[in-house]
């Protein structure tokens, strides 16, 4: 038996012994996901227990170093853990922008002290993060951001506004892009971290066409940010920002996987024209699944192009929009019920409307295509 086989056997036994039965049920709504943080209310004892046992083992972030609260697993071991969790239908113990976005950036750009301080809290689910990137005047043209940070001795004084800040009203801390120089567009941006309870920070939820409010406007009025909360060098935050965006795009591309099952098998379309469209979709979805597996392997092996998350994000989000369109078509008038005795939460129409944001958030499809044209295809003037 190889070491990896032994790891699989041990992991399987450990998961069987420690994953509560309730945590092996499919996630049906937002309430089933554990986001952690200092104000988190666990939905059940099982949810709390699952987070605690996994965090104790470092398996909320299995491939992070043990010194920072991770599991110290190799790429192969991480894959085996994922496969074994999937085998019993185990939920992720923790959903976190700290894990999927900030963590990788801190691992690369953070100081030793920042890593020990923030990464361990992220790994244990003790701190919930939001992302301060977009502004009213800086969407696709993100580097045009204007939120100002003035140097004031031992701290920065931050003034300005962010928008599309996911869960800003629920987050403990923010990772935020600020302008520390007007001399250069991209070269005047810095990357800072601060507590959302700092005086001068306020948030206002944005009601979306889906009827839900996953995003906020976030305002900064004379917010004091200690100097040591800068990540990377001053005026070099754009490098951190871009690196983090790669991880964000990789995460978002995962929505192209849907639930993993066949749409046609779930919908059983009777109309032959619709069946043909759904079959075409299922081909694309299964091909994208293969791409996603291959991309993960190539990324870990260092064989993927650094700009390839843009290709993945574009393909995955366009696929998810198509999936929602087909769910609406197959559902007919049932899928139009916003709230009714039959469909209390109006999942189909709300998911459909929410999915329209997929190809906008994290950089629009058009921006991703620009990036592929410029950095991968090296087309002129791109």
């Amino acid at each position: 038996m190889t070491d990896l086989d032994t790891f699989r056997t041990d992991t399987r036994a450990w998961l069987e012994a420690h994953c509560p039965t309730e945590m092996r049920q499919p996630i049906l709504s937002e309430a089933d996901m554990c986001w952690g943080g200092r104000n988190w209310t666990f939905a059940s004892d099982a949810q709390k227990q699952w987070l605690e046992v996994m965090a104790a083992r470092g398996w909320t972030v299995p491939d992070w170093p043990r010194d920072y609260g991770g599991g110290g697993l190799s790429a192969d071991e991480t894959r085996v853990l994922k496969e074994e969790m999937a085998r019993i239908g185990a939920r992720l113990p923790l959903y976190s922008f700290g894990i999927s976005m900030l963590g990788p950036a801190l691992l690369k750009f953070g100081t030793e002290e920042q890593k020990r301080h923030y990464l361990t809290q992220i790994a244990r689910g003790e701190i919930r993060w939001c992302q301060g990137y977009s502004e009213p005047g800086a969407g696709s043209d993100l580097a045009g951001l204007q939120t100002k940070a003035e140097e004031k001795g031992d701290h920065w004084l931050v003034n300005g506004q962010k928008v599309w800040t996911s869960y800003a009203d629920k987050a403990d801390w923010i990772f935020c892009l600020v302008r520390t120089s007007t001399e250069s567009k991209q070269g005047g941006i810095s990357f800072v971290l601060f507590d959302m309870e700092t005086p001068g920070v306020s948030t206002k939820p944005i009601l979306l066409i889906s009827g839900n409010s996953p995003f906020c406007e976030t305002f900064f009025d004379e917010v004091k940010v200690p100097k040591e909360q800068l990540v990377g060098e001053i005026n070099k935050g754009w490098d951190v920002a871009k690196y983090l965006l790669g991880h964000e795009r990789e995460m978002i591309s995962g929505m192209g996987l849907g639930g993993g099952g066949s749409l046609g098998a779930a919908m059983k379309p009777a109309d032959p024209m619709l069946r043909a469209e759904i079959a075409a979709f299922d081909v694309d979805a299964l091909a994208f699944q293969a791409m996603s597996e291959r991309f993960a392997a190539m990324w870990k092996a260092g064989e993927a192009h650094p700009a390839s998350p843009s290709m993945m994000k574009y393909a995955g989000t366009e696929l998810n929009k198509r999936r929602n369109e087909l769910v609406m078509a197959a559902g007919g008038s049932d899928a139009l019920e916003w709230d009714s005795e039959r469909s209390k939460t109006g999942k189909a129409p709300r998911d459909w409307l929410r999915s329209k944001g997929n190809s906008i958030e994290g950089g629009t499809s058009e921006v991703q295509l620009n990036i592929v044209a410029k950095h991968i295809l090296r087309l002129p003037g791109a």
């Binding site: 098998a265 759904i278 081909v283 293969a290 190539m298 393909a315 044209a373 087309l379 002129p380 003037g381």
Partner: protein, 373 residues
Amino acid sequence: MILTDDQKMLQETAASFLADEGGPTKQLRHWRDTACTDGYGTDFWKKFGDLGLTGISIPESQGGLGLGVTEAALVLEEIGRNLTPSPFLATAVAATRAIEGTAHGERWYPGVLAGEAVLALAVEEGPRHAPEHTALAATRSGNGFVLNGHKQFVVQGNSADMVVTAARTSGSPGDRTGITLFAVLKGAAETERVNLADSSKAARMAFDNVALDADAVIGEVDGGWAPLSRALDAGRAGAASELVGVAAGSAALTFDYLRTRKQFGKLIGEFQALQHRAAHLYGEIEIARAAVLKAAQSLDSGDERAELFVSVAKAKAGEVASLAAREGVQMHGGIGMTDEHDIGLYLKREAVLGELFGDVYYHRNRVAELSSY
């Protein structure tokens, strides 16, 4: 889902061999413009043999490389990229798998290994892929069988020394049982050579009371579906990989053109309308390649979902190669419509490979059926 070191080495060998000797000027155009009846160079096929490539799917115990569909697919992507005409897919990938483990393997493998023998697979009887609907009648007669009916789109059929032919020994068209494979030697059936759109050759074969001995049967009487499926699935994954190569080769020409052609005083690759189409195409080719790798690996590992992944790969690669070739001709403008430029050759090749062993619609339907809807 990344290649092993051995696989990367094979890929590099195939890539340099085919880029040096398999390109359109040396092979495709040469044989087309000299009206060669085979459509490929017989000496060139021997070189495949010298490199061991003709024995890629033949077991090591019988002198071959004993490699999987994954390795064959790597070679086929390079064949596709260079539009190289050869019997590699028909002979070394599809037909050799149909005769695996039979006396016919013993009989034909040495010739294939030497790059001398050519084998083909005769399945189609109508213009669209429908292997279950095999109707060519094989009736028992004395110690053997008599065949009556016809076949078409038998790729390399007019050059083949032996054609693996699917016939019906019982049941009705549409049944999977009752199909039997026969080894039909050159000259046994009346064979018309057909020049296809891409200048590759296929055959129409007429069977008018063709008498065969009992030992012409490959495997079990009425049990031909299993070896036929094995050959078809390897052929489909292989054709899909060749299509990825066609797409990549065509896209490479197109992207180069965008970087060099000037209009309105600038390089046309500066126009965002073209950049976005090019970037979309790039992603689709990457996805098709991943789908092909998944299919090939699942065939090699005996994954129970292998058939599903094969159909996903053939449908996706067909769609993407078609997109790459269409966009290629359009973005090249007028020059893309000329015979002088190679881009049009990709369009023709994609059309033939897309049809071979089932087109996009056949395989989308198969995905639906395998997913129970």
